[in-house]
């Protein structure tokens, strides 16, 4: 007879079997294993109770560790131990300009914080608000203000009277809060006219004195956040009778991305205003997922909220500002000319538009607090390398009802997806085989594709002035035979060729002559003439292109593009460039075959 019941099993049936095995050794009750017996009822209850305890213990232990926790509150609690603040929802943002019509010529007009705008995304109308107030003064009789940042959402206020209870929590009750927008004011008492002071948000306690008027944002239960104070150790603690006024913006996150047609609702100082904007609203984010918190919280503690090496900058910036899609960080000594004591940051944002000055200000303000002394972060414009894709796609007309246009659109969409998924970042390599696979997979009827890819770097020289430029493709180029006058230009396949330029009134383009020199030529069918020879050099091994003291009248399009024919089919972008495929650089031809 065994006196021990093994409790290692977790399933109901196994537990019940263990109990039966134990009872089978007992003399008193012999029909323990018949389903209808009273003993069986008792056995079921015991097994169920054991099962419930097992389940409970399993869940408790599972929730005790960040890796295995499943409940969001548990994950957030573990992240809190690592001083990690899970990302809240973020408002989509746009920057607008206002032209205010004020016939009575006031001294100034104020656009207050919280001024409402509306914008349309699809069929939905979203409310946008300003997060700061702006003053505008007349300039030649007109009132124009640019760089007004507007954020999707509505402003909400909550009030708490301090009770003195240490357990009192100042919860931000709306789950859709954008924590970047939280402002806290402490009022002396419940009288709304009593004096109030604005507290500053802090992400950590470094350098905070006991008298500093600061507040912290911490995660609370049920996807909410709460405001805490320094308890007179890491910041001044409001006293009994004070009123904590929490103002924040609630947002709909990613839903407002792409909102356009922005119009003002509130009239500043009662005047009509006309809104102009150059970019759609972007940067809206949903609340951070549980899996993301599990991933980033340990990384956050590795960085320790300190930007020391380049990876620190990348992690901190990407984590704090969700709109940043790519970051490259390097020392200022690598800049041309070198800028010692600086750290150069090049960032790309998801909207695809250039970084706004207000965004850069926010990034620098954030980095100043976490960068080492004497290191000044500066933002440099991100450089790009593009891939020019020319593809002919063959599809089986017997296996699809799609038209050639449908196939073409599928291919264009697939290439755009490839650019987003596999490129669009620093230190990326465009893998030719991956690209052709994306093209093949874009439609089930596609049987093959014939694709050529060239690297493109675009520059924007000032026309009418001498300029010099150094372009580094950082890839070996395919050298063609030396170009000689009188030969058929169509037989010359240059390693470097540019888009069209106008040089001294003549339209031509820049090519390499196959001998390491760059020339400007003009073509006419199979003939060509040199408009100017030896304007620069090409290193076919490194892909370095140098243009010396060139003056051009103009160039076609928004930029002057240099196309490089690379030796390898894969294109590795130089470390300071983001590689992308622009829709304007893609040519797709579709040909139907019957198989």
């Amino acid at each position: 007879m065994s006196d021990n019941i093994p409790f290692t099993k977790l399933d109901f049936d196994e537990i019940r079997l263990n109990l039966k095995t134990y009872l089978s050794a007992q003399e008193q009750f012999k029909d323990y294993d018949f389903d209808g017996s009273n003993m069986s009822v008792l056995l079921d209850i015991l097994a169920y109770n054991t099962f419930q305890n097992n389940y409970y213990s399993n869940m408790v232990f599972s929730e005790m560790f960040l890796d295995s926790a499943q409940l969001r509150d548990s994950v957030v609690s573990h992240a809190k131990e690592l001083n990690y603040l899970p990302r809240s929802m973020h408002s989509a943002q746009s920057t607008v300009s206002l032209r205010i019509n004020a016939a009575d010529s006031p001294v100034s007009i104020t656009v207050p914080r919280g001024t409402k705008f509306k914008a349309v995304c699809g069929t939905e109308v979203f409310t946008f608000v300003t997060s700061d107030s702006y003053s505008v003064y007349p300039n030649n009789g007109s009132y124009t203000i640019s760089g007004v940042d507007v954020y999707e959402g509505k402003i909400i206020k909550e009030y708490y009277t301090v009770t003195g209870d240490e357990r009192q929590e100042f919860i931000i009750n709306n789950k859709n809060v954008d924590t970047n927008s939280v402002r806290v004011r402490i009022r002396d008492n419940v009288d709304v006219d009593s004096s109030k002071s604005e507290y500053q948000v802090k992400g950590n306690i470094y350098g905070v004195l006991e008298t500093d008027e600061v507040f912290y944002i911490e995660p609370a239960s049920a996807e909410r956040y709460k405001v805490t104070f320094g308890r007179n150790a890491f910041g001044y603690q409001p006293v009994v009778g004070n009123v904590v006024e929490i103002e924040y913006r609630v947002t709909r996150g990613i839903e407002a991305n792409g909102a356009t047609n922005i119009q003002i609702i509130d009239q500043p100082d009662g005047y009509d205003a006309i809104v102009t904007f150059s970019q759609k609203a972007e940067g809206g984010q949903d609340v951070e997922s549980t899996d993301s918190i599990k991933f980033f919280a340990p990384k956050s503690i590795q960085v320790q909220d300190r930007a020391v090496n380049s990876k620190d900058y990348e992690i901190l910036l990407k984590n704090r500002f969700s709109e940043i899609s790519a970051v490259s960080v390097y020392g200022g000594e690598e800049l041309d000319p070198p800028r010692f004591g600086k750290v150069a940051i090049s960032a790309d944002v998801q909207s695809g538009y250039a970084l706004t000055s207000s965004a850069i200000s926010r990034y620098i303000e954030y980095l100043n607090d976490i960068s080492p002394l004497a290191i000044e972060p500066i933002f440099v414009k991100p450089q790009y390398m593009y891939a020019n894709v020319d593809t002919t796609v063959y599809y089986n007309t017997n296996t699809t009802t799609s038209s050639a246009t449908d196939i073409k659109n599928d291919v264009l969409g697939s290439i755009a997806n490839f650019s987003i998924t596999e490129l669009s970042d620093f230190n990326k390599t465009m893998r030719y085989s991956h690209l052709t696979r994306y093209i093949d997979d874009s439609n089930s009827s596609i049987v093959s594709n014939d694709t050529t890819v060239k690297a493109v770097i675009a520059i924007s020289p000032i026309t009418g002035l001498l300029f010099s430029e150094e372009i580094k493709f950082n890839n070996s180029l395919i050298l063609d035979h030396p170009l000689t006058l009188g030969e058929d230009i169509r037989n010359h396949d240059p390693a470097i060729a540019s888009s069209n330029i106008v040089y001294r009134g003549e339209t031509g383009y820049i090519v390499d002559g196959g001998n390491g020199n760059l020339h400007i030529i003009q073509t006419n069918g199979s003939d060509f003439t040199f408009l100017k020879q030896n304007i620069g050099t090409v290193d076919y091994q490194t892909g370095r292109v140098v243009i010396n003291n060139l003056l051009i009248d103009s160039y076609t399009g928004t930029d002057l593009r240099f196309y490089a024919k690379l030796r390898g089919k894969d294109i590795a972008a130089p470390k300071d460039r983001i590689i992308k495929i622009r829709p304007s650089d893609v040519t797709v031809r579709v040909s139907g075959v019957r198989e």
Binding site: F12, D13, Q28, F29, K30, D31, F34, D35, G36, S37, N38, M39, V41, D44, A47, Y48, F51
Partner: protein
């Protein structure tokens, strides 16, 4: 007269009572044995609705749901079949000899009479149970 010890009846099956009564002499749980234990077991099975026991969804019978049906020969037949299948599935100690169901329409109940013998015993045992709607 020669006094011989009573031949103790062999206990094949034993169970404790549903009401957990104690043996007044030993203060242990009182036991029901052999035929009585099997009878208790059959009654338990008939009164257990399917899905009532944790993790054992098929155990029991649905006789109680039949109490709300209109009384007809078909209903009576269904109940008889339910009783037989429940016992054959979950009470292997009993061999069912006969099942009869009598409906008492005026009292809203049915009386089930089961004649069975316990395995390893030829003695027929009759179990009569009246099932009443509780609402």
């Amino acid at each position: 007269m020669k006094i011989t010890p009573l031949q103790k009846k062999r206990i094949l099956y034993a169970d404790f009572r549903k009401d957990l009564l104690l043996n007044p002499v030993s203060s242990d749980l009182a036991r029901v044995t052999n035929e009585e234990a099997v009878k208790d077991s059959i009654v338990n099975l008939l009164l257990t609705n399917r899905g009532e026991r944790f993790f054992r969804p098929n155990l029991g019978s649905d006789i109680q749901t039949m109490l709300f049906e209109n009384v007809s020969p078909l209903t009576i037949l269904s109940i008889e079949e339910m009783v037989k299948s429940t016992i054959s599935n979950y009470e292997p100690r009993a061999n069912v000899i006969d099942v009869s169901v009598k409906a008492n329409e005026d009292y809203n109940d049915i009386t089930v009479t089961i004649v069975f013998n316990v395995v390893n015993s030829e003695t027929p045992i009759t179990l009569t149970k009246t099932l009443t709607r509780v609402r």
